[in-house]
Amino acid sequence: MEALWLSMKLAACVAAILLVIGMPAAYWLAYSSWRGKFLLESVVALPLVLPPTVLGFYALVAMGPRGPLGKLWVTLFGHGLAFTFSGLILASVLYSFPFAVQPLVASFEGVDRKLLDASAVLGAGGLRTFWRVILPLSLPGVVTAAVLSFAHTLGEFGVVLMVGGNLAGVTRTVSIDIYDRVQSLEYGEANRMALVLLVISFAVLSVVYAVNRRVWTPWPAK
């Protein structure tokens, strides 16, 4: 159960961080007219196609005592980043980035441009337009982004193994724990944990689809 708690904590932190940094990133991707935008779109989508071990490997190298991030971290906090919970969060943020950004971009792009023009003509600058118009009209996308990045982080395995290792209470998440138990032939225990993860994932995805089907909606659809 310690592993499950750890996974939930990790997923919640990652989802929160991704919402905060995902919004400006998604805003830029949705509205920039820069011609080289496709390059950054590709970078954002990379974690979708890269094996988690590749991403985990680069993250580990960067975080290691001789990597740039690791060195910076040591100077700032006096200890390394690899095999810590913070390191895990950082790597997971990278890994789940597209799961937060892509739904946000899609919903920002779905907001009628004329509404943005109307807002500007009524005296609102970019930030006010974002808070008063874009964000309220993108709520389903925000929920989707939060839920997907939470669920995706909850289920990750490769990146955690590379960057976090397997330290009980620090970096041993559910997926690692399940793998451990299967290795040591504790099938009953593994089954229990797997089932819990399955149920949580199903519940979480149901939320996403319900929101996008407008089963619940914050304002009348028409």
Binding site: D112, K114, S119, V121, L122, G123, A124, V133, W219
Partner: protein
């Protein structure tokens, strides 16, 4: 005195190259002035009307030019001035209205009033909702509000901020004439006190007639004429404008001879032998022109008329008669095909039927050569 006028005037000189959907690029190149009251921007779709409004509002940037509203320079390419849209104090009602779907009518209207104390904000919103007769819809969201009332709320939302200019991009499309007139009356009543220039874009001839006042006609990115509606729309100089202004007959013709002393030229219609006399246009003998004629300006006679001042009398045959409301649309073959509007009474009195041999009578000044 000149300062007095400039304090409320809108002047815009705009040059902007646009990439249109078609192959050729399109250049908007206009210079307009609007004094307090309604100025209509009239033209077929694609004439550049909406782009012109976008430039005035700051939603599009001209390549070159100068825009001055109420004495403030909003844009000046020579001096590098570009005031962004939120700071222009121009109100803009789009064709789609663009009401915020997640906000109530009241919150939509209050959107542009952010630096006011809550109480004053509520008072101003209440007052303008009342002026436009939609105060009972305060709490409703746009999705729950009918067409004409949405237009009223969009107008209220734009005007509550006390703008210096109001831009309207076909805001009343899709409403019936009575509703339109009622909304325009409310708008006029509001502007009687405020006296700001209103640029009203439309491609509908009926709206021009209903709104009256001053018309600026645009075609293909240029101002082709400006003045009172009668002057502008009754003598169109461009083909697209003639179509938009309701000239049912647009006949292609070849110029045969110019008679400058009489102010007329003789043209041959289409490939027919039919020759008519029309006012002088900017054309040389041998060149091709279009001649616009209103269907209501053509007379039909069952015998060859004598002793008329009208210079153009042609023989023809009725191809079809079609009654539409209290008007009969006759198609007459007089070498080229004419559309003629007559009354049902005339059809009965002259016993007109399809196939009947008739004479078409056309005054010289009912024929308008267009480019």
């Amino acid at each position: 005195m000149a300062g007095e006028v400039n304090a409320t005037m809108l002047t815009a000189r705009i040059r902007k190259k646009l990439r249109s959907a078609g192959a050729s690029s399109f250049v908007l190149d206009v210079s307009i002035e609007a004094s307090p009251g309604i100025t209509i921007l009239f033209g077929a779709s694609g004439a550049g009307k909406s782009t012109l409004l976008d430039c005035v509002a700051g939603l599009a940037q001209p390549d070159e030019g100068r825009i001055v509203s109420g004495g403030d320079v909003l844009f000046d390419s020579a001096r590098g001035i570009y005031v962004p849209a939120p700071k222009r104090r121009t109100a803009y009602v789009f064709q789609t209205l663009a009401l915020f779907p997640h906000l109530s009518a009241e919150d939509n209207v209050a959107y542009g009033l952010r630096n006011l104390p809550e109480l004053e904000k509520r008072e101003r919103v209440g007052a303008i909702l009342k002026a436009f007769h939609v105060e009972k819809l305060r709490k409703q969201r746009p999705g729950e509000i009918s067409g004409g009332e949405k237009q009223r709320i969009a107008l209220a939302r734009s005007l509550v901020t006390e703008p210096r200019v109001l831009l309207l991009d076909e805001p009343l499309t899709g409403l019936d004439a009575e509703l339109k007139a009622a909304i325009v009356d409310d708008l006029r009543a509001w502007n009687a006190a405020k006296g700001i220039p209103i640029l009203y874009v439309t491609h509908s001839r009926e709206e021009v007639d209903a709104l009256g006042e001053r018309v600026i006609a645009l075609d293909n990115g240029r101002v082709v004429s400006a003045g009172a509606p009668m002057e502008v729309l009754n003598a169109p100089r461009r083909k697209k404008l003639a179509q938009a202004a309701g000239f049912e007959n647009l006949l292609s013709a070849t110029v045969l001879e110019l008679r400058e002393a009489d102010g007329v030229m003789r043209v041959r219609l289409g490939e027919s032998a039919c020759e008519i006399e029309v006012p002088l246009g900017y054309a040389a003998a041998g060149s091709r022109v279009q001649v616009a004629v209103r269907a209501g300006d053509i007379l039909l006679a069952t015998e060859r008329p004598h002793g008329l001042s009208a210079r153009n009398v042609m023989e023809g045959r009725i191809v079809s008669l079609e009654q539409r409301g209290t008007m009969v649309i006759a198609r007459v073959d007089g070498g080229v095909s004419f559309v003629v509007h007559i009354t049902p009474g005339a059809v009965r009195a002259l016993e007109l039927t399809a196939g009947r041999h008739v004479w078409l009578v056309l005054k010289t000044h009912s024929c308008h050569p267009v480019d």
